[in-house]
Amino acid sequence: MENKDTRKELVVSALENGTVIDHIPPKSVLQVFKILDLEKHMDQVLFGINLESRRLGKKGLIKIKNKFFKIDEINKIALVAPTATLIVIKDFNIIEKKQVEIPDTVENIVKCFNPNCVTNNEAIPTKFTLIDKGELKLLCHYCEKTTAKDNIKFL
């Protein structure tokens, strides 16, 4: 345990300043990329898929140099990567480590499940309220229909 932790910190500490997003389900890494708009980041971004993880078996990881997220910004990824851990690094030191949380309002990330919803027919950003954290049920602000875990599609 002790040994493992040291090794992990070594990997993480290779970043001088920035953010590491750890414990991403491997399949969701590219979605996280998209949600956080990392393609547009002007500095170094490294990512790994199918890395070994004691907790998840396999995991994904993203390291973003010189980038610090606001809490609302990072929580957006909780929908695709509920297991993700956020690690903030400054001067090679971990200064913050926390679990992502699904936000109470989800804006412009998820598509409304209802084909007859105005957001699927006009150029309108989607907006949902989280009504059930456990089962991940999102109530559409516009059509008032619920989009649940099984039928979530990302924009």
Binding site: N116, C117, V118, Y142, C143, K145
Partner: protein
């Protein structure tokens, strides 16, 4: 309520819609008052609904206001590909209040966010139709003298009928007992039932219409639409099971009233029309008073 939009029945509090019903009572006594003579109301009907549109327009005209708008999207700029946002923003420049009916769910909520004049939702797809709900509450209160402690039956398509959903949700603010009569495939969705459970009210479910008649104060009939069934055979099986006729009302409570949002097809036999229990035509007329009250409250003249 001044300058507020009414998109969903939940946008107003219980006290606010009771206030609307009280104002509607004044209009029932005196429907012609020149209190909107300096106002322009736009009625934008992106899909046709003659009954609702005429009811709103009659309400405005009787109060001396002017009406602009269209009754069908094909005669408007929508046909040229204009976005909903642009249509609403443009019309908001020409009017003091917009009444809209649109086939897409959530369209009225969106309109209320981009418009600088209040929006009244006159139906957004299968989602909400709050003025129908208000006129139903008005009709129930008028015929029963109260909204509390009533036994109310909803009959027909309870799964897709948005009127039923908003009425049930609104009535959970009062101490009502609900009786739901429908084919198994058209039962009330659990999301709506949750509102009843949250308020600790009672509800019962039936598949047989005659069973419920002796116990209820209000019998709210709705149409079962063919297009709701994926298999036309399923429709054929149930289409005649929920038809009310004169004979079935034998043994009903003395105060029972039959309501229907109209148009009806055949779910209420014409032999019921002349009975004292039939209230659906008066109910439609109440729509004018309730819409007058709502518009007067939103425009701040009442």
């Amino acid at each position: 309520m001044k300058n507020r939009s009414l998109v969903s029945i939940n946008d107003f509090s219980k006290e606010e819609y009771i206030k609307i019903l009280d104002i509607a009572e004044e209009f029932e006594k005196q429907p012609k008052q020149k209190i909107l003579d300096s106002y322009v109301v736009a009625t934008l009907f992106f899909e046709p609904s003659t009954r609702t549109r005429l009811s709103f327009e009659s309400a405005v005209n009787q109060l001396g206001g002017s009406v602009i708008g269209f009754s069908d999207a094909s005669s408007s700029s929508v046909k040229k590909g204009e976005s909903l946002k642009d249509t609403i923003k443009t019309v908001a420049n020409y009017s003091d209040l917009i009444v809209m009916r649109h086939p897409l769910e959530g369209s009225a909520r969106f309109a209320s966010e981009v418009s600088n004049v209040p929006i009244i939702n006159a139906g957004d797809g299968a989602n909400q139709h709050p003025t129908q709900c208000l006129l139903d509450l008005y009709s129930i209160r008028k015929t029963q003298g109260k909204l509390d402690d009533l036994h109310i039956a909803f009959v027909g398509d309870l799964k897709y009928g948005r009127t039923v959903h908003s009425n049930v949700i609104a009535l959970t603010n009062f101490n009502c007992t609900f009786h739901f009569v429908s084919p198994t495939e058209l039962k009330l969705p659990s999301a709506v039932k949750r509102h009843i459970k949250d308020k600790n009210l009672k509800y019962y479910q039936y598949t047989d219409l005659s069973e419920v008649i002796p116990t209820v104060d209000i019998l709210y009939m709705t149409r079962i639409q063919r297009e709701r069934f994926s298999d036309p055979m399923d429709y054929e099986k149930v289409k005649n099971s929920y038809i009310l006729n004169k004979e079935m009302l034998n043994g009903c409570k003395d105060n029972l009233k039959v309501l229907h949002p109209l148009p009806r097809v055949n779910e209420i036999n014409e032999d019921v029309d002349d009975m004292k229990e039939a209230y659906y035509f008066q109910q439609a007329l109440n729509g004018v008073y309730v819409r007058q009250a709502l518009m007067a409250a939103i425009l701040g003249v009442k």
